[in-house]
Amino acid sequence: MTATSEEVFAKVQTALIDALGVDDDEVKPGATLVGDLGAESIDFLDIVFRLEKAFGISIPREDLSPEDILTNGQFVKDGLVTAEGMAKLKSRMPWADLSKFEQKPRVQDFGNLLTVQDMCNYVMTKVGG
């Protein structure tokens, strides 16, 4: 299916409101899922199920959770993602805005990276018109 970015935002917003119990005015494009909207790991599963259903797409776990990269000694040194690791992350998640993270790429901060806009961008890669 193809969709406009407005349609995608509306459905992503609904999925986040239903999964996280937040209000629609809290779900702004720049809001981070973890920091601003209070998403926990259990919520990510819920969000994935809702997005899959709303858009008729399949969301493999590694698309949104690059744990394999973040736990690989080749890509992480002293808690920081290496240049090679950053390149891997960028190619795995080309739809995510990693610029802020890149300035101080601490593995422990990665969980708080994803914004509502990132989620919309991701969905667009799957359904974009």
Binding site: D18, I42, L45, D46, V48, F49, E52, K53, R61
Partner: protein, 168 residues
């Protein structure tokens, strides 16, 4: 008080759906003085009944290898209280499953009328994170499922009877 909130499985198709019955009885401990003068089944126990049906469906789908717990209730709607003498007919369907969780939808009908509508999300516990080893001792779950008559009705997608797994 036993923690079995479905009296009997009436249908079970592996990977798809399950149905069961819950009879509401005046002598149930949980009704005693719950709402004095108007006994009714606590609606949270209707959620639990459907969670048991759904949880067993999901666990069987993964060949009893996952520790399945209820993680979220997306929405639970109740249209009428369930009172003594009522027989609730539950039906739960698996909506979607991944390797770390699943979602299911369930309905409860009484005398053909929709009594409740529930969305459930299950998570699979990571080994060792909360509990050391399995939630049930060997044989415990098989005993509970026999009491609920799961194996009387359980079939796979092709209609063949499901065997009682050694893992239970």
């Amino acid at each position: 008080m036993r923690w079995m909130w479905v009296d009997r499985f009436t249908e079970f198709v592996s990977g798809s759906h399950a149905s069961g019955l819950k009879n509401v009885a005046l002598d149930e401990e949980v009704l005693d003085e719950y709402c004095p003068g108007f006994p009714y089944l606590p609606p949270t126990l209707i959620i639990e009944g459907m969670a048991q049906l759904g949880g067993i469906l999901v666990a069987e789908m993964f060949d009893w290898d996952k520790q399945v717990v209820l993680a979220k209730v997306g929405k639970a709607e109740f249209f009428a209280p369930a009172v003594p003498g009522d027989q609730l007919h539950y039906r739960v369907e698996i909506d979607s499953a991944q390797d770390n969780g699943a979602i299911a939808r369930g309905t409860s009908h009484c005398n053909g009328v929709l009594q409740a509508n529930i969305e459930l999300m299950f998570a699979f516990l990571e080994e060792g994170r909360f509990a050391d080893g399995p939630l049930f001792k060997p044989g415990d779950l098989a005993t509970m499922l026999r009491l609920m008559k799961l194996f009387h009705v359980a079939v796979d997608a092709n209609g063949n009877r499901i065997n009682i797994s050694d893992k239970l």
